[in-house]
């Protein structure tokens, strides 16, 4: 019905190139003004994935930053000055995040920076901060690759890097008595700088404990169809599945497993199960029973300021549940606040970084401290879905419920 001439193809090419240019330009943010004299507000800049593929955690992180801003301003501000946040939208795009942080530093002239969400975006964004010798505390970028670049100004405000986030879970599995310890395991993972090392860390520990690997594959970030991966896993028949996921692929993979009637005894998944009711809506509440995950924050934890944070969050954004990503962002701001208050100035960013390298900070996630690369030195909590609610099951001193071994999905609905 339709025909394409050489000229037509040239037009197509021109149109495609134009589209790419527009895509790049469209995400550039505007100017919002920066801080100035000593009585002016302290301006803190960040860019978050408020739209695009990572919009869900990005918006939660924005909420966390805003809760901190409200609380710190109500408490007299930072160094006696009010705090003003400038938050741009990077549309989940690695190119735009670089543009945004360059603009925050050179055009908005912000006084301080806070990080973005995901290792994918924090990798380039932290490089911009490092080049400009500005402190960069980030709430959600735990890839080991973040910390092998010799950066001095980078700090990750969670308990451990991605490769160690499943450590407590793997240690628990490894010590299970004979007959209960899974004999075989499958390791599907998203090709993502956070998810892949997370799974690799667990796999290494479980292989050392004698758990045989019967399936391991990485899938591309834009994978939508998980049926064939699940079909292959089902043929391998593992006792345990450790899935490295972000949110949407976590839901997609679990639904594909249910469709194929592939329900291994044990199921650990990164990221998606920590999304509260969105996880239950995504896969069905009955199907969450027994799913394991690693998590940085518990609303019930008895950590300094946690109850106040949870109450303020619920006041600002409604009750029900506090997203982990909002808590992580709040903790990143707490780390920044601690450094500024300890140094007593925002002018010497090197001094702020030096102080964080040498000290521990109490946050709502618990105490955080860092090595010379900015990698944190603690352990993650392990969560498990039980009776339609997320519980902390490991380590024992932080547990809100007894751990159970099996994933027992109850079918659709």
């Amino acid at each position: 019905m339709v025909h394409t001439s050489r000229g037509g193809r040239r037009s197509l090419m021109a149109a495609a190139v134009t589209g790419v240019l527009v895509t790049s330009l469209a995400a550039c943010g505007g100017d919002d003004g920066g801080g100035g004299g000593s009585d002016d507000p302290i301006v803190i800049g960040s860019s978050l994935p408020l739209t695009g593929e990572f919009s869900q955690p990005g918006q939660a992180a924005e909420q966390g930053y805003k809760v901190w801003q409200e609380m710190v301003n109500a408490d007299g501000g930072l160094l006696g000055r009010q705090v003003e946040l400038v938050i741009k939208d990077d549309a989940s795009n690695q190119n735009t995040i670089v543009t945004d942080y360059n603009a925050l530093i050179s055009q908005d002239r912000v006084d301080l920076l806070l990080g973005t969400f995901s290792s994918l975006l924090n990798l380039p964004a932290s490089a911009v901060a490092e080049r400009n010798q500005m402190l960069y505390v980030e709430p959600a970028g735990g890839s080991p690759d973040m910390f092998n670049r010799g950066f001095e100004y980078l700090f990750f405000a969670q308990q451990s890097t991605a490769d160690k986030q499943g450590k407590v879970f793997a240690e628990w599995v490894a010590q299970l008595p004979e007959g209960e310890i899974p004999e075989t395991a499958a390791y599907p993972t998203l090709d993502d700088p956070f998810a892949a090392p997370n799974v690799a860390g667990i796999q290494a520990m479980l292989e050392e404990a004698g758990v045989e690997t019967v399936y391991e594959e990485t899938y591309a970030i834009d994978t939508k169809n998980f049926d064939t991966i699940v079909s292959a896993m089902k043929n391998a028949d593992p006792d345990l599945v450790v899935h490295g996921a972000q949110f949407e692929d976590g839901i997609g993979m679990t639904r594909a497993m249910l469709k194929a009637d592939f329900t291994p005894d044990m199921f650990f998944q990164t990221n998606a199960p920590s999304f509260g009711s969105q996880f239950t809506e995504g896969i069905g509440e009955d199907n969450t029973e027994g799913v394991f995950y690693a998590v940085s924050h518990s609303p019930d934890a008895d950590t300094p300021g946690n109850a106040e944070f949870v109450a303020k969050y619920e006041e600002m954004y409604g009750g029900g549940e506090v997203p982990e990503d909002a808590a992580d962002a709040y903790a990143a701001a707490e780390v920044l606040q601690a450094a500024v208050e300890a140094v007593g100035s925002i002018d010497d960013q090197q001094a702020l970084a030096d102080w964080l390298h040498e000290n521990e900070v109490e946050t709502i996630l618990g105490p955080l401290s860092w090595d010379e690369t900015g990698a944190p030195q603690g352990d993650f909590l392990i969560g498990q879905w039980q009776d339609g609610a997320p519980q902390i099951v490991l380590p024992e001193d932080a547990a809100t419920a007894e751990i159970t071994r099996n994933w027992t999905p109850g079918g659709a609905g």
Partner: protein, 294 residues
């Protein structure tokens, strides 16, 4: 053999849904020479409308197609009249820019209305399968695939067996001559745009049941759909169907026999290879230039 048959079935089911989603894109290009970058956004919009009908009203999401499709048809018609029609005769780059902007507007509007949270439509059969001889057939994919085939057959009958279809094909191949024989090409264009968007709407209702989505999901869809219609031949409905099935099969077989990490890349490599040999795509033909210069 079971693994091969399983992959074949899953690939065909996936291709069927891709075909429905891509058919509108190729139809719009065929008649109007507009590359509708907003096509994926309309598909996601239909998913959100379907979600609302299912979540709020309780209508089965696949049966809701009878509501979603006319609704999205009307939105498509209005979009053409208000946004596309004024620049129809502009260079193709302008329409790409316009429809890209439209995609961003739709993404923003969906974010405002439904939020940027991931959304999933899960009817009672969403996580169930038929099992035949060791091969599992996900019910949602089977129902969705059958509906996709039914809609495509209706579309094909309209295009090949009705006066309207002849008018559309005439307007596509030679607008000036079509006008000479009394075809109102402007009205045909509006109708085709709306039909094309409606096809995306039907596809969106199905994909919404199959995969979770956010407003930003349209970027992934438009990349796939453009590759499919280029593979099949821009403007060819049969080509879009063939391209979609090949694309779906390539995705599934790559995942099964090579690696899931290559599953989204290999189909594009096939598109590239085909275009090197046949630049107009599998079933596309070269654009006819009117022989007589003015």
């Amino acid at each position: 053999m079971t693994v091969f048959l399983q992959s074949l079935v899953l690939g065909l089911l996936l291709g069927g849904v891709y075909a429905l989603a891509a058919s509108g894109l190729t139809l719009i290009f065929g008649v109007m020479k507009v590359i509708n970058i907003a096509h994926g956004a309309f598909l996601v919009l239909a998913s959100f409308i379907t979600y609302t009908l299912w979540d709020v009203v309780g209508i089965d999401p696949l049966l809701a197609i009878v509501i979603t499709t006319p609704l999205v048809f009307a939105i498509g018609w209005a979009t053409y009249k208000v946004v596309v029609s004024p620049i129809r005769s502009a260079p193709m780059a302008s329409t790409v820019l316009l429809t890209f902007g439209l995609a961003l507007v739709l993404e923003g509007a969906m974010g405002e209305i439904w939020g940027n949270n991931s959304t999933a439509i899960r009817p009672s059969y969403a996580d169930e399968s038929f099992t035949i001889g060791g091969i599992f057939l996900p019910k949602a994919q089977v129902f969705g695939g059958l509906i996709a085939v039914a809609v495509l057959v209706v579309l094909w009958i309209v295009l090949t067996r009705t006066w309207l279809g002849r008018a559309i094909r005439a307007a596509a191949s030679n607008p000036s001559s079509a006008q000479l024989v009394g075809i109102r090409t402007a009205s045909v264009a509006a109708l085709v745009f709306a039909i094309g968007i409606a096809a995306a709407g039907a596809g969106g209702a199905i994909t919404g049941v199959l995969y979770p989505f956010v407003p930003g999901s349209h970027y992934q869809w438009i990349a796939r759909l453009l590759a499919i219609v280029v593979l099949g031949g821009l403007g060819s409905l049969n080509g879009a169907v063939l391209g979609a099935i090949l694309f779906g099969l390539a995705e599934v077989f790559t995942s099964t026999y090579v690696s899931p990490s290559w599953a989204t890349a290999v189909p594009y490599a096939i598109v590239f290879a085909v275009l090197l040999i046949r630049p107009q795509g599998l079933l596309g033909t070269r654009l006819r230039e009117d022989a007589v210069a003015a």
